[in-house]
């Protein structure tokens, strides 16, 4: 799948923003006044910034409001609702914390639940697709949630919890890759099933429909950079999970260690999310003799 920068930025940044909101809402940290303003500003900048970035990949964004209409079937629509509800509820919670020094417990819990639900809805947009077997597995929502919460815990300044969550993220990354590597084969979709011609024999593409590229190939049969996949997996694993976890376990009190951990994690998270798209193979590639 084509790794669109807008979607990578969106899922990484919004995820971390909603992760931070989760810990603020749960009362894991309870800042008030300007301190609270700083935390909430950061959370909103990441969450809203990411959502705005996602609008960049729309072909026709003027209809964006209609995206709230189909929550009964569409995970994208559910994500739109959940994100707005989370932002509103957490906004009310933030008003209390910033201006009145008060943490309205039940608002925070609802806000945290909505933040987690938003991240899960985002992940379900990908997980639901049977056409992309690598995404269509149970580790996908957990991986998105783990990234969100570990990034959020780091920004909330919770080093021990963050380290644990980072280790979980690393484990889930490896699991997602390992399971993902066999998903396409296990899906049962082949050139033979795609054409229905397997009843005669082995199928091979003789001529593609056009000699040039097309939208389908650019969007869903993205093969650029896959040869670096293994190296990028190591980079993603070390930078997103191992290095920051180690940093936070060794220097739990150091601000410098936290900053290094956050920067490493962000870099690694972008690499991991790039791989999430670039390594994902869509079954439509079978009609083009490609995966």
């Amino acid at each position: 799948m084509h790794p669109a920068p807008s979607v990578i930025i969106f899922t990484v940044l919004s995820g971390i923003g909603f992760g931070l909101m989760t810990f603020l809402g749960l009362g894991a940290i309870a800042p008030t006044g300007w301190g609270a303003f700083g935390y909430f500003f950061l959370a909103y900048a990441l969450a809203v910034g990411g959502l705005l970035a996602s609008a960049l990949h729309l072909g026709n964004p003027k209809n964006a409001l209609l995206a709230f209409s189909q929550w009964q079937t569409s995970w994208l629509s559910r994500e739109a609702w959940l994100s707005v509800l989370a932002l509103i509820v957490m906004g009310l919670f933030a008003l209390g914390a910033v201006f009145f020094g008060a943490h309205v417990r039940f608002l925070g819990w609802i806000g945290a639940a909505l933040s987690i639900a938003t991240v899960l809805a985002t992940s379900m947009i990908y997980t639901q697709l049977k056409t992309v077997p690598r995404w269509n597995q149970w580790t996908t929502p957990l991986l998105f949630l783990a990234f969100s919460l570990s990034g959020g815990a780091m920004l909330a300044g919770l080093p021990r919890l963050a380290a644990l969550l980072l280790l979980a993220t690393g484990g889930l990354l490896v699991l997602h890759w390992r399971q993902g590597d066999t998903r396409f084969g296990a899906s049962g979709s082949t050139m033979e099933s795609a054409t229905g011609l397997g009843r005669i024999g082995k199928v091979r593409l003789l001529e593609p429909p056009h000699t040039g590229k097309n939208y389908l190939l650019k969007e869903m049969v993205y093969v650029v950079g896959r040869k670096h996949a293994l190296r990028l997996r190591w980079i993603a694993l070390v930078l997103a999970a191992m290095l920051p976890a180690l940093n936070l376990l060794l220097f739990p009190a150091g601000l410098g260690a936290l900053v290094v951990a956050v920067l490493a994690h962000l870099t690694g998270a972008f690499a991991a999310r790039w791989l999430f798209f670039a390594e994902a193979e869509h079954v439509v590639g079978l009609y083009y003799g490609k995966r």
Partner: protein, 247 residues
């Protein structure tokens, strides 16, 4: 409405006979021609006369080579457009309700006025039936020529999809696959029409008819009776054969 109808009165669709398609791409051209000027945003091309041309097509013809375990390989031309699935995954993922399946005839359509161009429906489709128009930023797909099949301004003979109307070999047929007595349903029953990627559970309405297998008796040439190939010639021919071999 992105909730799929539980039942459609008709299941309009295509039956594509892989036995007689010759891969001429006339349906591709006819489709592009009709849908460029009728319903919705035209199908744009990018760099059409330059070095790297590409464009939006609702129907494309692939060609495959199939090699059986025993016997000669055969080439199959394979036209592919929207299959108007009963359980269309492209419809349910749409956040705006732009994608919908009609309850009366089962045609899957895009309301272009509501499309945000997010591309998720194209991701959800296993068949590559939906293409985002790069100029309009809107998702395009086969409409089954909904603006032809019910169009009373056209002569009756033209009230079928442009691809079907133009096919010179009659490899494409249009009809109601919910009606077991329709010509398309009968040909599917007789020829063993099949679904594409049945494992994904999309229940496509469009059906494909398999090509006939080639004769398995591959080592007998059709010209064999005219050729005088004998492993060991006898008589005067044998004597000539030996003599010529020694020269």
């Amino acid at each position: 409405m992105t909730q799929l109808p539980t039942h459609t009165d008709k299941k309009l669709g295509l039956v594509i006979d892989l036995d007689i398609c010759v891969g001429c791409h006339a349906c591709v051209v006819a489709c592009k021609g009709w849908n460029d000027q009728g319903y919705g945003a035209p199908l744009s091309d990018q760099d059409p006369y330059g070095g790297d041309p590409s464009g939006t097509f609702l129907n494309r013809v692939h060609s495959f080579e199939i090699t059986p375990e025993n016997g000669p390989a055969q080439v199959v031309h394979f036209p592919k457009s929207c299959l108007h699935c009963e359980d269309a995954p492209c419809v349910t993922v749409c956040p705006t309700g732009a994608s919908y399946k009609r309850t009366d005839d089962g045609i899957v359509l895009v309301n272009e006025d509501a499309c945000i161009g997010c591309g998720l429906c194209a991701w959800a489709c296993p068949y590559g039936a939906r293409e985002m128009d790069q100029a309009a930023g809107i998702m395009k797909k086969c409409t089954l020529c909904v603006d032809r099949i019910y169009n009373e301004n056209l002569p009756e003979i033209d009230r079928e999809p442009a691809c079907v109307r133009t096919c010179p070999t009659g490899a494409r047929a249009f009809g109601d696959l919910a009606d077991p007595d329709s010509a398309v349903s009968r040909s599917v029953a007789e020829r063993g029409g099949f679904d594409l990627m049945p494992e994904l559970g999309t229940k496509p309405v469009n059906q494909y008819l398999p090509p006939h297998p080639k004769d398995l008796d591959g080592d007998v040439d059709v010209l064999a009776p005219l050729l005088d190939i004998q492993p060991e010639a006898k008589g005067i021919l044998g004597w000539l054969d030996k003599l010529l071999g020694k020269l």
